[in-house]
């Protein structure tokens, strides 16, 4: 497990390994998205695509500035725009950068049945390891924020890595660096919380009496947090969950099945089952094949 050593995992999907724990002095990082400073320019989206070598399809205008229309295997972050009238009758244009929240208690990781397909590093980043991903989609169901997307082409799950490749060499994520107005900040989680407090004070002084930090406890807090002018109503920000928690199914999985598994029951049968999951899906079904072909064609056409 060379990667455990080097990457400082603290959690790994579908695994009971105890990660090496001597390097226990790594600080947790966080990205703070201050919605009140965001101008919705999509620099974060552009920088994300450029850095990560992602290019989604050229879509259509669909009645808002949300483009692409949704997250996808090639769109890891997305500005979502909401026109909202406040109680004074004034318009507010609430613009939220959507993407992986890097939960402290990641529903995706908990739900993931593929060993080592989802990992969490000591700095808090939750990362997908494509090589181990079986494309089962449990992570999608496990995510309270509806973030991961399964590629129809390679049947892997994708989402924001918090630019783990940049962070690993001491840089900030690409979106953070690009953000023209500093609406996206990056640092230790402790620093980001302190900074968020200052922002909340400023917003309150400007009449946003419910301003606050979004760091939801239902998922143990997140490594991507928001400063919201209306922290009492997260859902007005294009459906940000008011109280995100991990699906009950995942809790069941974690609460009942895992302990059973740990007890070593049906070891052999389970091993066989696992092999079937890992190896089986490599036999691509005609339906999958057709979908992949269609997607590829579409991409070609649009170029």
């Amino acid at each position: 497990m060379a990667d455990l050593q080097s990457q400082n995992y603290i959690r790994r999907s579908a695994s009971t390994l105890t990660p090496p724990s001597v390097r226990d002095h790594e600080q947790e990082v966080a990205k703070l998205i201050d919605v009140s400073r965001c101008i919705g320019c999509k620099a974060c989206q552009a920088a994300c695509m450029e850095w990560n070598n992602l290019r989604d399809e050229i879509g259509h205008f669909e009645g808002s500035y949300d483009n692409p229309a949704d997250l996808s295997p090639s769109t890891w972050t997305l500005m979502r725009f909401a026109e909202w009238e406040n109680d004074k009758g004034d318009l507010e244009w609430l613009i939220r950068k959507d993407g992986c929240m890097h939960c402290e208690d990641p529903g995706c990781l908990k739900a993931c049945p593929a060993p080592g397909a989802i990992v969490q590093y000591a700095n808090g980043i939750v990362d997908f390891i494509s090589e181990n991903c079986i494309g089962c989609g449990y992570c999608v169901k496990g995510c309270p924020f509806d973030i991961p997307r399964i590629s129809q082409v390679d049947h892997k799950s994708y989402k924001c890595t918090l630019c783990s490749d940049r962070v690993a060499v001491g840089l900030e994520p690409a979106c953070v660096k690009a953000c023209p107005t500093g609406a996206i900040m990056f640092g230790t989680k402790a620093d980001m919380k302190t900074w968020a407090e200052e922002r909340v004070v400023d917003l309150k002084s400007r009449g946003f009496s419910n301003a606050g930090l979004y760091d939801p406890s239902g998922v143990g807090g997140t490594h991507v947090m928001y400063v919201l002018h209306h922290a009492d109503k997260p859902s007005i920000y294009a459906g940000l969950p008011d109280n995100p928690r991990i699906s009950i199914l995942v809790d069941l999985w974690k609460g009942i099945v895992k302990p059973l598994a740990l007890a070593g029951i049906a070891f052999t049968a389970v091993t066989a089952f696992f092999h079937w999951i890992v190896a089986g899906p490599n036999e691509v079904q005609p339906e999958d094949e057709a979908n992949a072909q269609r997607l590829l064609r579409k991409t070609d056409d649009s170029r």
Binding site: C136, T161, L252, A261
Partner: protein, 197 residues
């Protein structure tokens, strides 16, 4: 029994609790795993300081290119990001600036001079010599025919109004100075740039 991935999800999502694969993490402990994190792509790329070509905030940028400028390596730009030392943009870039790479490598970048003959329905590729010789000839013919040396009052005015030029507002100051010299020495007065538009 053939079960594809999608089918598998359908089959099992309701009955998640019945599968016990969570125990299997250590089952793969013998297999070799690649390093999880994507290797940092700029480690040895050449870095060039430049200025964003779009608006006049004129953000500082760092252009990264493949190859270390060795004679046999052809430089190819692979990434562009903000210059953190620049006092205005301090490393940030807007959605245009963050996507500069895609304009440098746009499929519609022009690679060869092209010529469209009168009435023709298509461009054809031509040599630089053909293009510049022909343009210079057309300019001279028009200038010689329509140059105004004196106005009706007999004042020497030396202007050429029948051929005009628009100068590029994203070209360098040095380019623009040279362009001024060339255009005005010909007496050109129908001469403008994007400042008015």
């Amino acid at each position: 029994m053939q079960v594809g991935r999608r089918g598998f999800i359908k089959l099992t999502s309701a009955g998640l609790a019945t599968s016990a694969i969570g125990v299997l993490g250590f089952g793969s402990s013998g297999s070799a795993l690649a390093a999880a994190i994507r290797p940092f792509k700029l480690t040895a790329a050449a870095e060039t300081r430049n200025t964003c070509t779009y608006c006049s905030v004129s953000c500082g940028i760092l252009i990264y290119s493949m190859g270390d400028r060795a004679k046999n390596a052809r430089s190819n730009i692979i990434h562009i990001e903000g210059d953190p030392d620049h006092p205005v943009n301090r490393g940030t870039l807007c959605p245009k600036g963050s996507a500069l790479l895609d304009v440098v490598h746009a499929p519609t970048r022009l690679k060869s001079p092209r010529y469209r003959a009168p009435g023709s329905g298509a461009f054809k590729e031509v040599s630089w010599d053909f293009a510049l010789d022909r343009i210079a000839r057309l300019m001279k013919e028009d200038r010689d025919r329509n140059f105004i040396t004196r106005n009706a009052a007999g004042t020497q005015v030396n202007r050429w109004t029948s051929t005009g030029m628009l100068a590029a507002s994203a070209s360098s100051t040095e380019t623009s100075y040279l362009t001024w010299k060339v255009a005005r020495s010909l007496g050109m007065v129908v001469f403008d740039n994007q400042a008015r538009v």
